[in-house]
Structures are given as structure tokens and as C-alpha cells.
């Protein structure tokens, strides 16, 4: 039996030219080779996972390492005797509706600049920007009683001072910061302004809220349009449309639409929404419309696939007890297809959230120093803001860019987590 050449065994134990002796040496070798192949494949897969985790870890490490600094700010103390500087203005003057106008007439900017001049002399221009006084105005608006006091206010320092506090920069600013620090006149803290403000020229004073709010509004417009239209299109194509050439043509077109480069959707939006329909330029409404066009095919394709995977027996069961086609769809098919549709929606929305190119085409790259107040206000979105900041000459924008990326990632993860939570809730009903 062990000898494949033996004519006796070739009659009985062989089906091909090789021995079928399962314990023979040749067979053991083949088994060993199979084990080796299995092991090799396992390690290949493992190494692929390790490499991708390393990339991810590297990305997060660099982003968080750079960006975390963007969330802190440096402030420098300025003593101001409001009582004498304003000539005895009372807190009641700057209360109520006319507070802002009253403040303007008090020449706060002049008072603050004089106080800075007195305290820091020649260094003043290196420590503060010409906008630093607005901190005082804001402080006075929220706490009018300050107007009668002789107090010390903390003003946001120039970006160069802020960077001197965090990492290496010019020797001049390093020395200046060291001097301030030793005198106890500089402090660092969480940069609330970054989370509440909008774009600006001084990196120490910019905020992300404007772009974040723009992104939220744009995404809501996108979702409100792309989800119902996409799902209804998928339902119609799967459940109602007759299978003919027109349906085939529509199906091919939708598949192609999902693969069209996003900038082309931007051009489409520019022509259709801005030129023909004359919707407001740079607005979240137009941005949402353009991104909805881009997201819809993704939802249609995912929706059709998950509707297709609902077992036909469920449809038959419902039809069998006398459910109408619409009842079959809304009572049985859609609830079962929803998890799959949600997955498609998550993918489409995540892509839309990170989209820059089409939004540049419709003017969402405007320099905006206040957050949008509504659908038609000029606004920008997070990825465009990141793109704009990464292009800035001022070195202070580097950490702001990274900080904005962190905000974008957190937004993305929050959105996905919410969608996955919803999906799992529906899935348990199966």
C-alpha cells in the first residue's frame, strides 16, 4: 500500500496516479503544506490589521498632539481704573437694550489702549492686537458693575505670545513671554472663544462655532432631502417599477451618479441653484442641496439592496392576509430594510460631511466672522474652514487647523454613533 508503484495496490487503493494512503509520507507533506498556507494567510491578515491600526494611531496621535494646543489660550493682565478713565460712568448706563451703544460712546477702545500703553509701554504692540480691547467690551456687557471698579482684566494675547507659551518661536517673543510669566501677568486657560466664535484674522481669536454650525445646518438640509427622496426612489424602483428599458436606464444612471466626482456636483449647483434659481450664494441651503444630490444615489443603491434582501415570503405573507402594496411596503418591507438603509445613509452622510470641493464652487469659502443665523445666511462648513486655515500664512493657524480637524472628527463620530444607535434599535425588532 505504501508503494505507489506496486501494481497490486494501484488496482485497489488508487483512484488517480497518486497514492490515497492517508498516513503516507507524501500525504503528511501535503497536510503540512496546507497548515503552512493557513498559518501564512492568518499572519498576512493579522499584519494588515496591525498596519492599518498603526496608520490610524499615527493619524490620531499627530492630530491630537497638534490640535490639543489649539484649545488653550494665553491671556495677559492689564490693570484698568474704569472709574477714573470713564469719568464716573454708572453701571446702569450700560445695562439694558442700549448697552452696546452706550459702551461705544464711552470709547472703551481708547481706555484699554491707554491702559495697555501705561502698563507695557513699547512692548504693547508685541503683546496685544488692535482687537484685544473687544474682550473688555464683552466683559463689561456681561458684568456692567465692572465699570465702577479699579480692576485687572485678562486680555487674549497676540498669537505669537500664545505660541511662545506652548512651543518654540521667535526668541523675541520667548523672552517677552518669560518676562510676563515671571511677573505673574500671563496665564493659560481653556479657549472658550474657539468653541463659540467664528473665523477671523488673528489665530488667537478665531473660533470654530461658525463652521460647525454651518456644517450642522448643511447636514440637516442634506438629510432632510436625501433620505426621504432616496428611500422613496429605492422603494419605487424595487417594488413598483415595471422592469423595462426605462427602469434599466434609470438604474444605470443612478449607479453612475454615485461615482461622479463631487466637484461636478458643485458646478451643477452653481449653474442650477445659483444662476437659474437665484438662491442665496454661500448659503447652507444651497450647500445642503448640492450635498443631497451627491448623497441621494448612495442611499438609493443601499436602499435597493436592502429592500431586495427582504425575503419574498414576508411580502407573500402580508399579501396573503390582504395587505395592499403600500401596506406591504410600510408595515413589512421598510422596517426590515431600515438597518441596511441606515448603513447606506451613514456612509453617504459621512462622505457629505467631509466634502470640500463642491462647496467651494458655490461660494461657501467666504470669510465669515459670525456664525450663520439661518438657512439662507452665508456660511461655511468644517472641511472648508480647515482648508482655508491650512492655507493661512500666520503660523498660529497650524494648531487651529488641527483643532478644527479634531472638532470635525468628533462631529463625524457623534453623527455615526447616533445613526448606529438608531440602526441597532430597529434591528432588534427582527
Amino acid at each position: 500500500m505504501n508503494n505507489p508503484a506496486s501494481p497490486a495496490s494501484s488496482e485497489t487503493a488508487m483512484i488517480g496516479s497518486r497514492s490515497t494512503d492517508w498516513h503516507g509520507e507524501a500525504m503528511q507533506k501535503r497536510i503540512a503544506r496546507r497548515y503552512a498556507a493557513e498559518r501564512r494567510f492568518k499572519y498576512l491578515g493579522l499584519s494588515a490589521i496591525v498596519i492599518s491600526s498603526l496608520f490610524l494611531a499615527f493619524l490620531l496621535f499627530v492630530m491630537i498632539g497638534n490640535g490639543i494646543k489649539g484649545f488653550s489660550t494665553t491671556q495677559v493682565a492689564v490693570p484698568i481704573d474704569f472709574a477714573s478713565a470713564t469719568g464716573g460712568a454708572s453701571p446702569d448706563q450700560i445695562r439694558g437694550e442700549d448697552a452696546e451703544r452706550a459702551l461705544n460712546s464711552l470709547d472703551i477702545s481708547g481706555i484699554v489702549n491707554t491702559a495697555i500703553e501705561i502698563e507695557y509701554g513699547a512692548d504693547a504692540a508685541d503683546i496685544f492686537t488692535e482687537n484685544s480691547w473687544t474682550d473688555v467690551r464683552d466683559a463689561l456687557l456681561s458684568n456692567p458693575d465692572m465699570i465702577g471698579e479699579n480692576t485687572t482684566v485678562w486680555l487674549t494675547a497676540k498669537s505669537e505670545i500664545d505660541r511662545a507659551a506652548k512651543d518654540d518661536t521667535d526668541e523675541k517673543f520667548e523672552a517677552l513671554y518669560a518676562k510676563l510669566k515671571d511677573a505673574g501677568k500671563a496665564q493659560s486657560g481653556f479657549n472658550w472663544g474657539f468653541l463659540t466664535g467664528a473665523d477671523g484674522t488673528d489665530p488667537a481669536r478665531v473660533g470654530i462655532w461658525g463652521a460647525l454650525k454651518g456644517s450642522i445646518i448643511t447636514m440637516l438640509v442634506t438629510l432632510a432631502l436625501a433620505f426621504p427622496v432616496g428611500v422613496l426612489a429605492a422603494v419605487y424602483l424595487e417594488e413598483y417599477a415595471p422592469s423595462n428599458r426605462i427602469t434599466d436606464f434609470i438604474e444605470v444612471s443612478i449607479n453612475n451618479l454615485a461615482a461622479v466626482p463631487s466637484i461636478i456636483f458643485g458646478l451643477l449647483g452653481l449653474v442650477v441653484f445659483l444662476s437659474w434659481l437665484e438662491l442665496p450664494r454661500s448659503s447652507a441651503l444651497v450647500g445642503g442641496l448640492v450635498l443631497a444630490l451627491m448623497t441621494m444615489p448612495v442611499i438609493v443603491i443601499a436602499g435597493r439592496n436592502s429592500i431586495k434582501s427582504v425575503p419574498p415570503s414576508i411580502r407573500e405573507a402580508a399579501l396573503g392576509v390582504g395587505a395592499s402594496p403600500v401596506q406591504v411596503v410600510f408595515h413589512h418591507v421598510l422596517p426590515l430594510a431600515l438597518p441596511g438603509i441606515m448603513t447606506g445613509t451613514i456612509i453617504g452622510m459621512a462622505r457629505a460631511l467631509g466634502e470640500t470641493a463642491p462647496l467651494l464652487m458655490i461660494g461657501m469659502r467666504a470669510f465669515l466672522t459670525s456664525p450663520p443665523q439661518g438657512l439662507t445666511d452665508p456660511s461655511t462648513v468644517l472641511p472648508v474652514q480647515i482648508y482655508l486655515w491650512s492655507d493661512e500664512v500666520n503660523r498660529g493657524f497650524v494648531e487651529k487647523t488641527s483643532a478644527a480637524i479634531i472638532v470635525l472628527l468628533i462631529f463625524l463620530l457623534t453623527m455615526n454613533a447616533f445613526a448606529i444607535y438608531l440602526r441597532n434599535r430597529f434591528e432588534t425588532r427582527w
Binding site: P242, S313, E316, A318, G320, V321, G322, A323, Q327, R429
Partner: protein, 261 residues
């Protein structure tokens, strides 16, 4: 024999006359005429692919979902042509219920499975009445005692035989006049099959029942009337006892004696 035929005709629930069914160009059913009455269980037997399931599905227009399918001839329910434009398909399917080959409960609770039909047709005036319908349907399907304490559990968690009885209960819940069963036991073990057959006995007389089966013993056990289908035509239709002891046609005899099929 002659008197009996007229007797049956008087209580006909459904009749079909010269029914042809086409799938595109291909003819699947050729000139079938048959009467279904309330008192008897009618069995359709025949080898695989002979068209008995296709024919069954024309009787509540379930074949409407297949675009290429075309039906000619006349099928009536209480004398009403079910393929007439004035016939409401949704109502027809409530009146002519169906139980499928594979148990197909909705992925919902046992209660909701039964309550679904009455709900969409507005058959219950309130929660209490709906509860009653659910209980009565489950009792008629012989499932009440097994599931009464777990009505909120998923219908898909039941065993195969229980699922099929749940499907029968679901069909009963909309108070149909005819129940069509398409090989209801082919996916079940012998014990579950016996329970379904017992159930069919109990339901006889309350509903006109048509059952498709390729198990001849089953046809002999549960039915009073049997139709034998072969290659898209109905070869013979008569009393089950007559058919199995003294078939009129050569092909029927060959099939029943196990010569083919």
C-alpha cells in the same frame, strides 16, 4: 353520481372554467375547470412541476405579483368573477386566505402576527375585541394553549410546526371564506404534519379548504375531493375514496400506484 354532482354544484364556493395560465409564452395550465365547495376539503395532487401550485395561486390572484403571468378563462367566488376589473384584489385575498409551503410568520410578536390582518381591515372595534379575535384564531388553529403565556414573544422563535399553525391562525383571523394551502406540511416533521392534518379536519365545514400536496397519503387522509394534475392539465377530479380505489384514467392509476411522479 349524477345527483351528487348537482348537489355539490349547489353549494359551490369557487368555480373555475377553462382556466389557462401563461408565463410569458409558456403555457403552465391548460383549460382547468373545477368546483370548490364548503363542505369538503379539496386536494390537488400531481408530480412536481405539474402546475398545481400555479393553479392554486390563481385562485386568490397571488400570481399577480409575477409580471409575466397571464390568466384566461373564468374563476368565480360566490358567482363573482375574481379577475373582473371591479374586483378588489386586497379584499379578495382577505376572503381567500393562503397558507404557504414554508412557514412565514412576520418577524413580529405572536400577537401582532395574528392581529395584523384584523388591524389593516379594521375588523376589531377596540383592543378588547382584537384580543378576542387573537385568542379565537389561535384556539381554532390549536395553538392557544402552547402560546397563551408568551404572546409578546417573536413568532419566528416558535418551532416549524407551531409557526405553520401560527400562519393558519393568521389566515383565520381575517375570517376568510376559502383557505388555500400550498403544500403546508412539506417543511415539517411527521408529528407536526399530523397536527396540521388534524387541524384541517377541524376546520372543514367552517371554511372551504383547498390543499396542494404531493404526498398522496396526505391527500387520502385529509381530503374528500381530489383533483389530479399532470403536465398543466387536470386529468381527473372526483371523490377522494373513488379516486384512490378506482381511478378512471390510466395516468391517474399510474401515478397513484407509484409508476411515476
Amino acid at each position: 353520481m349524477n345527483t351528487e354532482t348537482t348537489n355539490i354544484a349547489s353549494s359551490n364556493k369557487m368555480t373555475t372554467r377553462n382556466v389557462d395560465v401563461f408565463y410569458g409564452e409558456k403555457q403552465a395550465i391548460n383549460g382547468v375547470s373545477i368546483d370548490i365547495d364548503m363542505e369538503n376539503v379539496t386536494a390537488f395532487i400531481g408530480p412536481s412541476g405539474c402546475g398545481k401550485s400555479t393553479f392554486l395561486r390563481t385562485m386568490n390572484r397571488m400570481n399577480d405579483t409575477i409580471p409575466s403571468c397571464r390568466v384566461t378563462g373564468e374563476i368565480t367566488l360566490d358567482g363573482e368573477d375574481i379577475y373582473a376589473p371591479s374586483m378588489d384584489v386586497v379584499q379578495l385575498r382577505a376572503r381567500v386566505g393562503m397558507v404557504f409551503q414554508k412557514p412565514n410568520p412576520f418577524p413580529k410578536s405572536i400577537y401582532d402576527n395574528i392581529a395584523y390582518g384584523p388591524r389593516i381591515h379594521g375588523l376589531a372595534s377596540g383592543k378588547d375585541e382584537l384580543d378576542q379575535i387573537v385568542e379565537k384564531s389561535l384556539q381554532r388553529a390549536g395553538l392557544w394553549n402552547e402560546v397563551k403565556d408568551r404572546l409578546n414573544e417573536s413568532g419566528t422563535a416558535l418551532s416549524g410546526g407551531q409557526q405553520q399553525r401560527l400562519c393558519i391562525a393568521r389566515a383565520i383571523a381575517v375570517d376568510p371564506e376559502v383557505i388555500l394551502m400550498d403544500e403546508p406540511c412539506s417543511a415539517l416533521d411527521p408529528i407536526a404534519t399530523a397536527k396540521i392534518e388534524e387541524l384541517i379536519h377541524e376546520l372543514r365545514g367552517k371554511y372551504a379548504i383547498v390543499i396542494v400536496t404531493h404526498n398522496m397519503q396526505q391527500a387520502a387522509r385529509v381530503s374528500q375531493r381530489t383533483a389530479f394534475f399532470h403536465l398543466g392539465t387536470m386529468v381527473e377530479y372526483g371523490d377522494t375514496s373513488e379516486m384512490f380505489t378506482n381511478p378512471q384514467e390510466e395516468r391517474t392509476r399510474d401515478y397513484i400506484t407509484g409508476r411515476y411522479g
